[in-house]
Every structure is written in structure tokens, then in C-alpha cells.
Symmetry: C2
Subunit: 139 residues, 2 copies
């Protein structure tokens, strides 16, 4: 099954005309396996892959540019990345963060209506929602 994910990653890269390098495949695999947003250092250290920090940085940059990956949100000064395919065209799923224990969870089963800007001329290409509160364990 790791074969399967590798193949999937390679396919995604070919689709977007990105060089199919070891680092890109590894990073896409990590994101495919993860069930939520990850920090760069989490990706770099995933299962002792020991990917170089700068490579991870530049790879995520290229993956984001290609639209395969999104910068989900900034938390504690660090970007959190996740696959873009969890998101619809214009709206990413909301993320909930517990103010007590700090866990962040993808709320893939919720979606809010797209905002309508009354002033003429605005074009919205992406809407992001952040929820803050207490998780079941802390409430």
C-alpha cells in the first residue's frame, strides 16, 4: 500500500508537470497519509525520513504553487500544510482549534455559505474559516 501512495504521488506530480523527485514524492506521501495539516518540521521528520529543511520548504512552495497543496493556516508562527483536494474550488473546510489543549481539527463535514461582498468589483477566490473554542475533551 505504500507502493500505492507512491504511485498516486507520482501521478499527481506528472499531472502538474512537476519534476518527479524523491523529495516531492516523499512529501506528497506524508500528506496523503496524514489526516490533517502538518508543519514543515513534522513533514521533514515524518517516520525518520529526515528530509532536509530547505528542501521541504522549497518543495512545499512548489506544490502549493502547483495547487496540489494549501497553506491551511498559521499557528504558533508556523505554517500548516495539507493536500488541497480536501477543499472545494473556492472554499477550504473550516479548522477548529481548542483554546485549552491546543488541538486543531479539520472540520470537513461543515461548510458555510460563500460570503457575498455588497460592494461592486470584488472577486473572491478563496474563503477560509477558523473556529476557536473548546473540544469535547476540554469542554
Amino acid at each position: 500500500m505504500s507502493e500505492r501512495l507512491d504511485e498516486q504521488a507520482r501521478h499527481m506530480l506528472r499531472e502538474t508537470k512537476l519534476y518527479c523527485t524523491e523529495a516531492r514524492v516523499a512529501i506528497l506521501r506524508v500528506l496523503l497519509e496524514a489526516n490533517g495539516p502538518l508543519r514543515q518540521d513534522q513533514i521533514a521528520g515524518w517516520e525518520s525520513h529526515k528530509l532536509n529543511k530547505v528542501t521541504v520548504y522549497r518543495t512545499l512552495d512548489s506544490l502549493a504553487e502547483a495547487g496540489l497543496v494549501h497553506r491551511a493556516f498559521l499557528q504558533n508562527r508556523a505554517w500548516h500544510f495539507e493536500l488541497a483536494d480536501h477543499c472545494s474550488e473556492k472554499q477550504c473546510h473550516p479548522h477548529f482549534t481548542c483554546t485549552n489543549c491546543g488541538v486543531t481539527r479539520c472540520m470537513t463535514d461543515i461548510s458555510l455559505p460563500l460570503a457575498k461582498i455588497p460592494q461592486k468589483g470584488y472577486v473572491i477566490s478563496r474563503q477560509q474559516v477558523r473556529l476557536e473554542g473548546l473540544c469535547p475533551a476540554c469542554a
Copy 2:
């Protein structure tokens, strides 16, 4: 009228039982005058006030803790602060950022419905929305 703002700032501080210091009054005034979220360095350098960076940092921290000020939900590495009174109890107004020219605008006239989390046990205390796209000038 700057007298007016000073008085207003002092009043806010007294209300929240915070020490009424020169730095706090100055920073509140800056935020009262500003029409959008500001970075710490913008606040520190506002009209040659030349406030100390660490003081600005700790002051904003205390103002946020007291609920007078909020950290806006933007996609930048630097926090942006604004007065909290633009926000309702559970929801802050959305912020729109133009991906072309970079301007950020408070969308105080829009509001989305509060998210409903289907899973039991979650308590949402705050919802924040970020919009990205093209402003009228860039569209």
C-alpha cells in the same frame, strides 16, 4: 479631537482595570484612529511616536487579554491587531485580502452564519473568516 480620543482610550482602560499608562493610551489611540488591522511595527512607528518594540508587544498582549483588542485572522507571519469592538460576541468581521496588490480590508458589513459542528461536545467561542481574491482596482 485628539483630546477626545485620548479620553476615550483612558476610559477604556479604566473600564477594564488596566493601569492607565502613556504607552497604553498611545496604542489605543493609534488603533482608534486606524481603520484596519495593524502590525506591531506599524503601531510602534505611528506618526513618529517611536514606541518601544517590547512595550508595544506586551501592551498589545495585555489589551488583547483584557478583550479590548483582537488579533485578526490573516495569512501573514506578523500578527495584525485591531480594536475588538468591531466584532460581535462570537464572530469577528471577515477580512478581505487582495492577492494582487495586497491590501486588506475589514468587511464590517458582511457576516456569515455561525458554524454548527455536528459532533457532540464542541463549544465554539469565536469564528473568524478570511477572504482572498481581487479588489475592485485589481480585478
